[in-house]
C-alpha cells in the first residue's frame, strides 16, 4: 500500500457513533443485508485498484430501490458518507471506501426487469452485470454494445458511474451513448427517474450528466439501456508488426482512410506473451506489436473492408496477417484480450493507466511512455483500445516492495500528464476515482473544476457521496 493519495480524514463524530449507526441500519434493512462485523468488513476495503485500502464503517446490501432510499435518508440525516459499489472492479479506486463511510453495495439488486425487443430496450437493476444483459437477449439476436473488459463481472450501475467503454465502442459508442434512462436515489433519499424508453427527454440532460458521475450524484438503482441487433458476422484479424510505432501509425492511417472497424486493439510484446499464456489464442509471438482489428457485417462486406485494411497495413510493414477461421477462435482472441489485465497478475503486480490521446499522437506517446518507464527502472505492458486512442500501459511492479510501488505510482502520474500534454485526457473509461484525483488540476483549470464541483454540489451539497474521489481535496467549496 502506498500513501501518496490522501483520503478525507474520518470524522471522529461519526466513528464514535459507529455502534448506534450500525444498530439503526440493521433495523432499516432485512436480515443478511448489513455487514458490520470487523472481520467481514475487511474484504470490502478495496476494489481492483488494490494499492489503496480503507475499511468501511459498514456495508449495506439493499435489495430494492426503497431500501436504498431508506439507507440514503438515514445517512443524509446523520451526515454519514456513502460509497456506492457495484462489483468492485474499478481500476481507479472508485469503490474504495473510507473509515467513516457506509458502503452501499448493489450486488443483491441483480434482476433483469424488462426486455422489450420491439423497442430494443432492456431495463435492469443496477447490480446486473454488463454481460448478463447481452446473454439475456442473445438468443433473440440482440446485444448490449458497451463491452468493458471486465464485462463478465462489472455491473451496469458501475458502468454508468464510470461511463464505461470497451473494445467495441469505436463503432457503438460508450455507456452514455447506449443509456436511455435511470431510476436513481438522490442523496436525501428522493427517488427520481430520468429518461425512459424514448430517446429525447426534456429539460437538462441530467441523464448525460449522471453517466460518469462516479457515484457522486446519487445511487443509480435501475437502468434502461439500448439493445442492438447482432451483426450478421464478425471477424477479428491479427496484424503483427515489428515495432509498436509501426502499429501505432497504421491505426491512425486506417481511421484516417475513412474505414471504421468495430474495434482496433493494440498489444505490445509483453502483453502478447501474457495473454497468450492465459488464453492460448494463437497470437503471434514473434512480433513486436499486434493489432486485433475486428470488422463486421456480411461476408462480402467484411472481405471488402479487410482488403482495404490489409493494404494499409502493408504500407506500414505488417509482418503477419492472420484471419480467424472459426467462432471458437474468435472467442479465444477476445478472451485473451479481455483478460489481459488479470492475466498480467500471473507475472507481476501492476497498475493500469487509462489516458486517451489523439490518434496522431499515438506513436509519440508510446515512445515517451517507454522512456518514462525506463527512467523509473520499471517494466510495462501495453494493451489498449487503439482505434480511439485510449491507452492502457500496465506498469509492472512488486507490491511487496514499497520502493517499487512508489516508483510505479510516480511513473504512472508522469504518463498520464504526458497524455494530457499530447492533447488527450487523464482517463478514457476507468474514471478518475481516487487514482487520478490529484492530477485533475493538470487537465483542468480552477474555474473548470469549480464549475464541475458546483454542479456536483447541486446534487449533494454536503459532499456525502463518495467524497474522497474525483476532485482534489484542496480547493473544494466549503460544505
Amino acid at each position: 500500500m502506498t500513501d501518496f493519495i490522501r483520503f478525507l480524514e474520518p470524522q471522529p463524530a461519526i466513528l464514535s457513533r459507529r455502534d448506534a449507526i450500525v444498530a439503526d441500519l440493521v433495523d432499516l434493512l432485512p436480515k443478511d443485508c448489513l455487514i458490520h462485523a470487523p472481520r467481514e468488513l475487511v474484504p470490502f476495503e478495496t476494489d481492483a485498484f488494490v494499492s489503496y485500502r480503507r475499511v468501511p464503517l459498514a456495508v449495506a446490501l439493499p435489495r430494492t430501490t426503497e431500501e436504498v432510499a431508506a439507507v440514503m435518508r438515514y445517512c443524509h440525516k446523520y451526515g454519514v458518507p456513502v460509497v456506492p459499489r457495484g462489483a468492485g472492479t474499478s481500476l481507479s479506486g472508485g469503490a474504495i471506501p473510507q473509515e467513516d463511510a457506509v458502503v452501499l453495495g448493489l450486488s443483491k439488486m441483480s434482476r433483469i426487469l424488462d426486455i422489450d425487443l420491439a423497442n430494443r430496450t432492456a431495463t435492469v437493476q443496477a447490480g446486473v452485470t454488463n454481460l448478463n444483459i447481452s446473454e439475456a437477449v442473445s438468443p433473440e439476436g440482440f446485444f448490449y454494445a458497451p463491452d468493458p473488459s471486465s464485462q463478465l463481472a462489472c455491473t451496469i450501475g458501475g458502468n454508468i458511474g464510470m461511463n464505461s467503454g470497451g473494445a467495441h465502442c469505436l463503432k457503438y459508442g460508450v455507456t452514455t451513448n447506449n443509456l436511455l434512462g435511470v431510476r436513481m436515489v438522490l442523496v436525501d433519499g428522493t427517488v427520481i427517474e430520468l429518461g425512459g424508453k424514448h430517446l429525447d427527454a426534456g429539460g437538462y440532460d441530467l441523464l448525460g450528466l449522471v453517466c460518469g458521475h462516479e457515484g457522486q450524484l446519487g445511487i443509480v438503482t435501475e437502468a434502461t439501456v439500448r439493445l442492438i441487433a447482432k451483426p450478421e458476422g464478425a471477424r477479428p484479424v491479427l496484424f503483427g508488426f515489428e515495432t509498436s510505432e509501426e502499429a501505432g501509425s497504421c491505426v491512425a492511417d486506417v481511421i484516417g482512410s475513412g474505414i471504421i472497424p468495430v474495434a482496433i486493439e493494440f498489444m505490445d510484446k509483453p502483453a502478447i506473451e501474457i495473454c497468450e499464456a492465459f488464453a492460448k489464442a494463437g497470437y503471434p509471438l514473434d512480433v513486436g506489436a499486434l493489432l486485433i482489428v475486428e470488422v463486421e457485417g456480411s461476408e462480402a462486406e467484411m472481405d471488402a473492408m479487410l482488403a482495404d485494411i490489409v493494404e494499409i497495413a502493408r504500407r506500414h510493414g505488417v509482418k503477419t496477417v492472420r484471419e480467424c477461421q472459426s467462432a471458437t477462435e474468435a472467442a479465444l482472441i477476445w478472451k485473451g484480450r479481455k483478460s489481459a489485465f488479470g492475466a498480467t497478475g500471473r507475472i507481476s503486480d501492476y497498475i493500469c493507466m487509462d489516458g486517451t490521446v489523439p490518434l496522431s499522437q499515438l506513436s509519440y506517446v508510446l515512445k515517451k511512455t517507454s522512456e518514462i518507464i525506463d527512467r523509473f527502472g520499471l517494466r510495462v505492458a501495453n494493451v489498449f483500445h487503439a482505434g480511439d486512442g485510449n491507452m492502457h500501459p500496465l506498469i509492472l511492479f512488486n507490491a511487496n516492495d514499497p520502493d517499487d510501488a512508489a516508483r510505479a505510482e510516480q511513473a504512472g502520474n508522469e504518463i498520464l500528464k504526458l497524455c494530457v500534454d499530447a492533447g488527450g485526457c487523464l482517463t478514457g473509461e476507468h474514471g478518475v476515482g481516487i487514482e487520478k484525483r490529484d492530477l485533475m488540476t493538470h487537465q483542468y483549470g480552477k474555474v473548470d473544476l469549480d464549475q464541475q464541483m458546483a454542479v456536483r454540489a447541486a446534487f449533494d451539497p454536503g459532499w456525502l457521496l463518495n467524497p474522497s474521489k474525483v476532485f482534489p481535496l484542496e480547493g473544494r467549496p466549503a460544505a
Binding site: 500500500m1 455487514i35 467481514e40 474484504p43 471486465s150 463478465l152 483478460s339 498480467t344 497478475g345
Partner: protein, 451 residues
C-alpha cells in the same frame, strides 16, 4: 496483491504456499461473476474474492478461525468455477484447502454442526455403513419436515430427503476381481486399467461401474478392481480433516502402486469426477511426505476420468439416434479436471444429440456433502440448474458425477444417467434400467449401428 507475512510465518510450507497463491490475485473481481454462491446471495463475502480476502486476513494475522470466516468458507461449494474464470491463475483450490485445514485445527464448531459432520465423515466413505444408513433413512423420511423447523437439524432433513426410496442390492462389480478383456483368446488386451470402486457411488448406483467394466472389457481392456481400495478421501478433505484424507490417499496409493508393480496399469479409471479431482491432486496432497511424494505423483498422473480414457480409444462414430441428451458438466469435471469436450464428443460420436444447458459453469448444488450441510443454497442452485437443463428439452440428462445425479434427479422427472451408461448402451450394452422399455424401445435407430 500485496501480502504481509513474517519470515517466521513463511517457514510453514502451507503458509508459504498460500502466500504464493495470494500474490497472484490482482483483485480484479472476475471470479465473483461465475461463483454460484455470489450469484445466489449477492454478497462478496460469499464469493471467491471475498473468501480469499478473509483467508488472507486470517492467515496474515496468524489468527484462529472464527464464526464469520467459517460461515463463508463453509458456504463455498469448492466447485472451482472461479479457477476456470481467473485470468491470473490463482490456485483457489489449494488456498481453500489450507483454510479448511486451518479451520479444523483452530475452530471449535457448535455441537450439532460437529455431530453432523462427524456422522457424515463416519458413514459416507464406508459403503457398508452408508447402505445401512440409507435403509434407516427410508424409515426416517417422514421426520424431515420436523427437522426442518430447527436450524441445526436442517442437515438431517436434507439427508432424509436425498436418500433414495429404494437402495439397490450390493453389486458384484464392487468386489475385488480381474475382469478380463473381451478379446479373442489368442490376442492380448489393448490395455489394463484399475477402476476406483468408490464409496457412495456403488451403493447409490452400482450400474455406473458395471457399465464401465462392461464397456471397457468389450473394448478390449482388462479391468482390475484391486483389493483394499477405499474412499478417495475427498469427503473428509473438504471438511478440512487433513490427516484422515491423507490416510485415505496413502492407502489407495499403496493399492494402485502394487497393481502397477505387479500387472502394470495404463490408468486408474474414475467414474465419479469428484473423486477424480482429488486423486489427481494426491501428488500435491502428499508432496511433503518423502515416503509418498513420488508414488502419489505417479498415481495422480495415472488417474483418468472414464471419458478421458475412452476418448483415447477411438470409438466408432454412429448414425444420429434422434435422442437429445442435455450434458451437465460436473464442476469437478469442468473446473476441477478441466475435462470439457471429451464427454460431449463421445456422446455425439455415439449418435446422441447433445445440448449444452445455459449457465453450464454453475454448480447444481450437490458438491459432496454441500446439499446436506447447506440445504438452502443448495436447493436454490438445484432449481436454477434444473430450469436451465429443462429449457433444452432433453430426453435424457447425462453427467459424470454421482453427486450431481442424486441432486438433479431429486428435482426433475427427466431420466439422468452417467455418461458411461449411455456409452455402454450405444456400444452394445443393455438399455439402462432407468429408461423404461415403452418409451425407449422405439427411440430412433437401433443402437449400436455404426455409421
Amino acid at each position: 496483491m500485496q501480502t504481509n507475512f513474517t519470515p517466521a510465518q513463511l517457514a510453514d510450507p502451507h503458509v508459504a504456499e498460500s502466500e504464493k497463491i495470494l500474490r497472484k490475485c490482482v483483485h480484479c473481481g472476475f471470479c465473483t461473476a461465475t461463483c454460484p454462491t455470489y450469484v445466489t446471495l449477492g454478497d462478496e463475502l460469499d464469493s471467491p474474492r471475498g473468501r480469499i480476502y478473509l483467508i488472507k486476513d486470517m492467515l496474515e494475522n496468524g489468527r484462529a478461525a472464527d464464526e464469520q470466516v467459517v460461515k463463508h468458507i463453509d458456504r463455498c461449494l469448492s466447485c472451482l468455477a472461479c479457477t476456470t474464470t481467473c485470468p491470473s491463475g490463482v490456485d483457489y483450490m489449494h488456498l481453500v484447502d489450507h483454510a479448511r485445514a486451518h479451520i479444523e485445527k483452530t475452530y471449535k464448531r457448535p455441537l450439532m454442526n460437529r455431530l453432523t459432520r462427524g456422522v457424515l465423515a463416519m458413514v459416507l466413505p464406508y459403503p457398508g455403513r452408508f447402505r445401512m444408513a440409507l435403509q434407516l433413512a427410508r424409515l426416517g423420511r417422514p421426520l424431515a419436515p420436523l427437522f426442518d423447523r430447527v436450524t441445526s437439524l436442517k442437515p438431517f432433513a436434507a439427508m432424509l430427503r436425498l436418500a433414495p426410496k429404494s437402495v439397490p442390492p450390493a453389486s458384484a462389480s464392487a468386489q475385488p476381481a480381474v475382469h478380463a478383456a473381451n478379446v479373442a483368446p489368442n490376442l492380448t488386451a489393448r490395455g489394463r486399467v484399475a477402476i476406483l470402486t468408490g464409496c457412495a457411488q456403488p451403493v447409490l448406483d452400482p450400474g455406473i461401474n458395471e457399465a464401465t467394466i462392461a464397456l471397457l472389457t468389450r473394448l478390449g481392456i482388462e479391468v482390475v478392481v484391486p483389493q483394499g481400495e477405499g474412499c478417495c478421501g475427498s469427503l473428509v478433505h473438504h471438511m478440512g480433516r487433513e490427516e484422515q484424507a491423507l490416510a485415505a490417499a496413502r492407502r489407495n496409493v499403496d493399492v494402485w502402486m502394487r497393481e502397477v508393480e505387479t500387472g502394470g496399469l495404463d490408468a486408474v479409471i474414475i467414474t465419479a469426477s469428484g473423486c477424480g479431482t482429488t486423486i489427481k491432486d494426491y501428488g500435491h496432497m502428499l508432496r511433503l511426505d518423502p515416503a509418498y511424494a513420488e508414488k502419489a505423483a505417479q498415481v495422480s498422473a495415472l488417474a483418468k476420468d472414464v471419458t478421458e480414457y475412452l476418448a483415447t480409444l477411438d470409438l466408432p462414430a454412429h448414425m444420429p439416434k434422434g435422442i437429445t441428451v442435455a450434458y451437465h458438466s460436473a464442476c469437478s469435471m469442468q473446473h476441477g479436471q478441466k475435462i470439457t469436450l471429451a464427454p460431449k464428443q463421445l456422446l455425439k460420436a455415439a449418435g446422441f444429440t447433445v445440448r449444452d444447458p445455459a449457465e453450464g459453469h454453475l454448480c447444481c448444488g450437490s458438491a459432496g456433502t454441500y446439499n446436506i450441510m447447506q440445504p438452502e443454497i443448495s436447493a436454490q442452485l438445484k432449481a436454477r440448474k434444473v430450469r436451465n437443463i429443462e429449457a433444452t428439452k432433453p430426453d435424457i440428462i447425462a453427467t459424470g458425477n454421482i453427486g450431481c445425479i442424486t441432486q438433479i434427479a431429486s428435482g426433475t422427472g427427466i431420466p439422468i444417467l452417467h455418461t458411461v451408461e449411455l456409452l455402454d448402451w450405444a456400444y452394445g450394452g443393455p438399455r439402462p434400467a432407468q429408461l423404461s422399455a415403452a418409451k425407449w424401445a422405439s427411440a430412433g435407430q437401433p443402437l449400436g449401428t455404426p455409421a
